[in-house]
Symmetry: C2
Subunit: 157 residues, 2 copies
Amino acid sequence: MTETTLNIAADDPVLGTDFAIEMVRQMRAVDAYGTYDTWSTNKILDPFVLTKPQKREIPVVGDPDEIVMSRVKAFYNAIAALIEKECGLMAVPTINLTHEGFGRALITVGKLVVMDKTLRDVHRFGFPTLSKMKDEADKILSVALEIVGEYPKVAGL
Amino acid sequence: MTETTLNIAADDPVLGTDFAIEMVRQMRAVDAYGTYDTWSTNKILDPFVLTKPQKREIPVVGDPDEIVMSRVKAFYNAIAALIEKECGLMAVPTINLTHEGFGRALITVGKLVVMDKTLRDVHRFGFPTLSKMKDEADKILSVALEIVGEYPKVAGL
């Protein structure tokens, strides 16, 4: 893949945010063969961005493969890491897939569920732009921190 | 399999408890071909009981198959159903397996985690007796209800 076909520009300002840095860290963590060692960060995060035509090419019904699953995990792991960084308490992500890419993603802090999302069409996991991906993560993060702030005792259990 | 080789006696008093009745209900729910229709309840629950020699026959390391997984799910589904019955709030079980039968089982009520268990050796899932299985379920149930009682507001979210 040449640089010109990437969906994320090398100078995209979002790449400098805590979220993107954590996403790259998560992707590198599961990169057992060091494939990403020489890759730029926009290339590493590129599979998370699916343009409309790219999404249209993926069948509506399908089973998610290992690669897509590792991306879904990286996304929620990154959010859990940011929650942990902000509130100082351990945040644990759990992803439970059933059939055909349906499932549930949870993040818990102590005995508190700070995120509970139904997953659908996991085989087509992706965001229109990197910025939209960060918006989604920010939204989850701020709701999670609000819940922790409201029930600090349960989060500390 | 003849009746004499079963680990659970047909007149085991535990079979009459709410827990065993719920377990049978859960097993019948996933019995797509009606295999259990003519089975006695002790025969349906028999695979949950593993005697020491039976456990010894199963390799220490192994991947859990679909059948074992359906038993693990039935067990936590039954507990979730009993929690729900007792506290009147929806209890949702989530099971997340990683490799070689390691994983995590969660039950949430609202935004409250009422059970959080690390799973190990899932391929050897089983209890020494039906009574010990019920004890384990009772323990989880009473802890869960205690947590709900302590944080009813979080459980009601």
